[in-house]
C-alpha cells in the first residue's frame, strides 16, 4: 500500500505544480466578468477581443475571463454560459451565435440577476428578447448587403463566398446579404472551406478552375481570406477578380495595399471587447447605462484609409 500512497502524493504534487502557474493571483477587489465566445481555439480573429478585454481589465481594475468552446461546438458553449452563471460573476458578455441554442442559458443568467451584454453575433432584437442590457456588434446581413452593392457597382455578376465557419448562421447571413446585394440567388457559390489554410486554398482553387466565369469573391474573415489570396496569386487572378472580405488581419491589409483586395469590412472588434467591460463596470458601480445598442460596424477599409489601420492590424484592429 505504501507505494500506492506515495504515487498518490506524487500525483497530487505534480498536479499542484502544473496548476500553480495557471492559477491567477488572488483577485483584487475589482469586479469579475466573463466573456464567452463561440470561436474555436484555432480562430485567430478573436485575439483583438482578447487584447481588448485584457486592457479594459487593466484600465478599469477589473478581471475579465475569456472562454470559448475548444471545437466551436455551440452546445459546449451553452454549457459554458451555464457554468459562468453558476459561478456568479458580476456580469457576462456573450455572443448570440445561435438564438435557439443559447436562449435558455442566457435567459437563466438574466433571471439569476447577472447583467448580460451580448456582442458580435446576433441581432439587437434577440438581445432585447433575452433581457440583455445591450448589444454591441455589426448587423451581419446588412454588412453583407452593403458589400454586395459595392461588388455590383464594380460589375460583379457571379461570385464565390468562401465560408470558413459555415455552421454559424451569422456566416450564412453574410453570404446571403452579399448575394442579395449583387442580385444573384445564393446557390452553390457558398463554399464550406473549413479552417485549415491548405484546404481552404485548394478548395478555392478547385472552385475557380471549375467556374472560370466567377468575377467576384467574398471571404468571411482572415481564416478564409489569407488562403484565398494565395490561391488567387497562384492562379494569376489577383487584381483581376473583385475581392472583398470581412474583418482585418496583417495579410488582408497587405492585400488591400497591393490591390488584390478591394475592401475589408471592419466590425471593429476592439470595441466589442472593450465597451461591454466599460458598460458592465459602470453599471455595477454606479447603476448608469446607455439607452441604446452600440453598432461597432460596418466600416469599410480601402486603399484610402489602410495606412492608419495597418499599423494596428491583428492587435487592435
Amino acid at each position: 500500500m505504501r507505494g500506492f500512497l506515495t504515487f498518490g502524493a506524487v500525483a497530487g504534487l505534480a498536479i499542484g505544480l502544473i496548476a500553480g502557474p495557471l492559477a491567477k493571483p488572488a483577485r483584487a477587489d475589482g469586479e469579475h466578468f466573463v466573456l464567452i465566445s463561440h470561436a474555436p481555439d484555432s480562430d485567430s480573429w478573436w485575439n483583438t477581443i482578447k487584447n481588448a478585454i485584457k486592457e479594459a481589465g487593466r484600465d478599469l481594475k477589473v478581471t475579465v475571463d475569456y472562454r470559448n468552446p475548444p471545437n466551436g461546438d455551440l452546445a459546449d458553449m451553452a454549457r459554458l454560459v451555464e457554468q459562468a452563471t453558476a459561478a456568479n460573476p458580476n456580469g457576462i458578455i456573450v455572443t448570440i451565435a445561435d438564438f435557439g441554442v443559447l436562449k435558455g442559458p442566457i435567459a437563466a443568467a438574466v433571471k439569476k440577476g447577472i447583467p448580460v451584454v451580448t456582442i458580435n453575433s446576433g441581432t439587437a432584437q434577440q438581445s432585447a428578447e433575452l433581457g440583455a442590457l445591450m448589444h454591441v456588434g455589426q448587423p451581419e446581413y446588412d454588412a453583407g448587403l452593403a458589400a454586395g452593392k459595392r461588388a455590383k457597382e464594380a460589375g460583379v455578376k457571379s461570385f464565390l463566398c468562401v465560408n470558413h465557419f459555415i455552421t454559424n448562421p451569422a456566416s450564412v447571413d453574410r453570404c446571403r446579404g452579399f448575394a442579395d446585394g449583387v442580385g444573384v440567388p445564393l446557390g452553390n457559390q457558398m463554399l464550406d472551406s473549413g479552417i485549415d489554410p491548405t484546404e481552404v486554398e485548394n478548395k478555392v482553387t478547385a472552385y475557380l478552375r471549375a467556374n472560370p466565369n466567377t468575377n467576384g469573391v467574398l471571404a468571411l474573415g482572415p481564416n478564409s481570406a489569407a488562403p484565398t489570396i494565395r490561391a488567387l496569386e497562384k492562379l494569376k487572378l489577383n487584381g483581376k477578380l473583385f475581392f472583398g472580405t470581412f474583418d482585418l488581419s496583417p495579410e488582408i491589409a497587405a492585400g488591400i495595399k497591393s490591390g488584390t483586395i478591394a475592401f475589408a469590412i471592419d466590425q471593429q472588434p476592439y470595441l466589442q471587447g472593450y465597451l461591454p467591460v466599460v458598460v458592465l463596470t459602470l453599471y455595477h458601480r454606479y447603476g448608469v447605462l446607455p439607452g441604446n445598442n452600440i453598432n461597432s460596424g460596418p466600416g469599410f477599409i480601402t486603399k484610402e484609409n489602410i495606412a492608419t489601420v495597418e499599423k494596428l492590424a491583428g492587435e487592435y484592429r
Partner: protein, 377 residues
C-alpha cells in the same frame, strides 16, 4: 476474464478447495479487484482537488453541480457504449459523427417534413442503430480493423450531416424543434428535466439556491442524467451478471478461443456496434431536445472523449478487460475537470494542456491502484 457468473455454468460439483479459481475471498479483497476501483479513486481525487482550489466558486452549488454533472452524463452515455465495445475488442471512432447525424435525423423530418416528433425520434434511433450494425457488419465481414472502418464512418457521417442538411434545408443549424416538440408524448423522455416539485421544495427550504423570483436555480434533474444512471445499471448488469456479458469478455479476450467454445463472436460484435450507435443517438437526440436544434458540428471529437473515459475506467485498449461502472467514473472525471477548470478561473488557453495532464495522471493513478490489488504486471 473478470468474474465467472453463474450463467456461464461453472459446474457446481467441481468445488474442490484446491482449485484457486473458486476459492473463497474476503468481500473487501474482492471489491479491491474490481477494474473500476482506480477510476473511482481518481474521481474522488479530482473532486477533492477542485474542492480545495475552487471552494467558493459556485462549483458545488446546485446549479454548478448540475452543470458538470450534465457534461459527465452526456459523455457517460456514450462512454458506456464505447466501453462495452472496447471490452469486446473493437473500436468505434464514428460516435461523434453519429451524434451530429442523429440530431439531423430528428430535426429535419420534424421541422421540414411535418413528421410528428415522436416518429422522428424513433426514425433517428432506427437509422442510427442500422448504421451501427452496418459498421459492425463491415468490420466482421471484411476482417478490417474496426479502427479503420469506423474512421471511414467518422468522415462519411460527418460529411453526410453537412451535405444533407445543406441540400435539404440550406442551413447547417436546424432549429424550431422545440416548438414542434410541445405536447409530444415521447419528447419529454429525451429532453428537459424531471422531479421539478422536489426542487421547488428544496428551494423553499433554502437547501438549494433560488432565482430572485423564488423559483429554484435548478428546475430539476436533467433527463440525460437519469438515462446515464439507468444505462450504467443495465450495462453493468448485462456485463457482469449475464451469459451475454461473458460472451463480451470472451470475444475481446481471445476471439479464436471464444469461437472454438461456441461463442457467437461475430454476432456479439455487430450487436455492440449497434449498441454504441444507439448510445450516440441518445446523446444526439437529447441534445436536440435540450437546445431545440440540430447542428452539423455537434459531437466533434466526442469519440475520443468516450474512449478516454472508458480507458480511465479501466478498459484495456486490447479488449477483454474493463467495466461499465469504471467508464462512468471516467466520464465523471472528465466532466469535473472540464468544467472545474473554468470554475477555478484558469485561463482557457491552457485548458487542453491541463486536461491532457490531468487525464494522464488519472490513468497512471488508476493503473497503480490496479497493480497493487490485482498483482498484474
Amino acid at each position: 476474464m473478470m468474474q465467472v457468473s453463474k450463467a456461464a455454468g461453472a459446474s457446481a460439483g467441481a468445488k474442490s478447495s484446491a482449485d484457486e479459481r473458486v476459492r473463497k475471498m474476503h468481500w473487501a479483497q474482492r471489491a479491491f479487484m474490481r477494474p473500476e476501483l482506480g477510476a473511482a479513486a481518481g474521481a474522488l481525487l479530482v473532486l477533492g482537488f477542485f474542492m480545495a482550489v475552487a471552494p467558493n466558486s459556485g462549483m458545488f452549488n446546485a446549479d454548478g453541480i448540475f452543470n458538470w454533472l450534465t457534461v459527465s452524463a452526456q459523455l457517460g452515455v456514450i462512454a458506456i457504449g464505447a466501453s462495452l465495445l472496447m471490452i469486446a475488442g473493437e473500436f468505434d471512432l464514428s460516435i461523434g459523427s453519429m451524434i451530429g447525424f442523429s440530431g439531423m435525423m430528428v430535426a429535419i423530418p420534424a421541422v421540414y417534413w411535418g413528421v410528428p416528433v415522436w416518429l422522428s425520434i424513433l426514425f433517428a434511433f432506427a437509422g442510427g442503430i442500422a448504421l451501427g450494425l452496418l459498421n459492425g457488419l463491415i468490420v466482421v465481414r471484411t476482417r478490417l480493423p474496426s479502427f479503420i472502418v469506423s474512421l471511414a464512418f467518422l468522415f462519411i457521417l460527418r460529411g453526410l450531416t453537412l451535405a444533407l442538411s445543406i441540400l435539404l434545408t440550406n442551413r447547417t443549424i436546424v432549429s424550431g424543434v422545440a416548438d414542434r416538440a410541445k405536447g409530444d408524448w415521447l419528447a419529454p423522455f429525451f429532453g428537459g428535466t424531471v422531479g421539478e416539485p422536489v426542487f421547488v421544495l428544496l428551494a423553499n427550504w433554502h437547501l438549494i439556491g433560488q432565482f430572485p423570483d423564488g423559483s429554484p436555480v435548478v428546475p430539476g434533474v436533467p433527463v440525460i442524467v437519469v438515462w446515464w444512471l439507468v444505462l450504467a445499471f443495465v450495462g453493468s448488469f448485462v456485463l457482469t451478471r449475464t451469459q451475454f456479458g461473458n460472451f463480451i469478455f470472451a470475444s475481446g479476450g481471445d476471439a479464436n478461443a471464444a469461437r472454438n467454445l461456441g461463442v457467437p463472436v461475430a454476432r456479439v460484435k455487430v450487436l455492440l456496434f449497434g449498441v454504441t450507435a444507439a448510445c450516440a443517438t441518445l446523446y444526439g437526440v437529447s441534445q436536440v431536445m435540450d437546445f431545440g436544434s440540430a447542428a452539423a458540428d455537434r459531437g466533434l471529437q466526442k469519440e475520443f472523449e468516450a474512449i478516454i473515459a472508458a480507458v480511465i475506467g479501466g478498459s484495456l485498449l486490447t479488449g477483454g478487460y474493463g467495466s461499465v461502472v469504471g467508464a462512468c467514473f471516467g466520464a465523471l472525471i472528465f466532466g469535473v475537470v472540464q468544467q472545474g477548470i473554468y470554475f477555478a478561473n484558469w485561463s482557457s488557453d491552457w485548458f487542453r494542456v491541463f486536461l491532457g495532464v490531468m487525464l494522464l495522471m488519472a490513468v497512471l493513478f488508476n493503473k497503480a491502484v490496479r497493480r497493487r490489488v490485482t498483482g498484474e504486471r
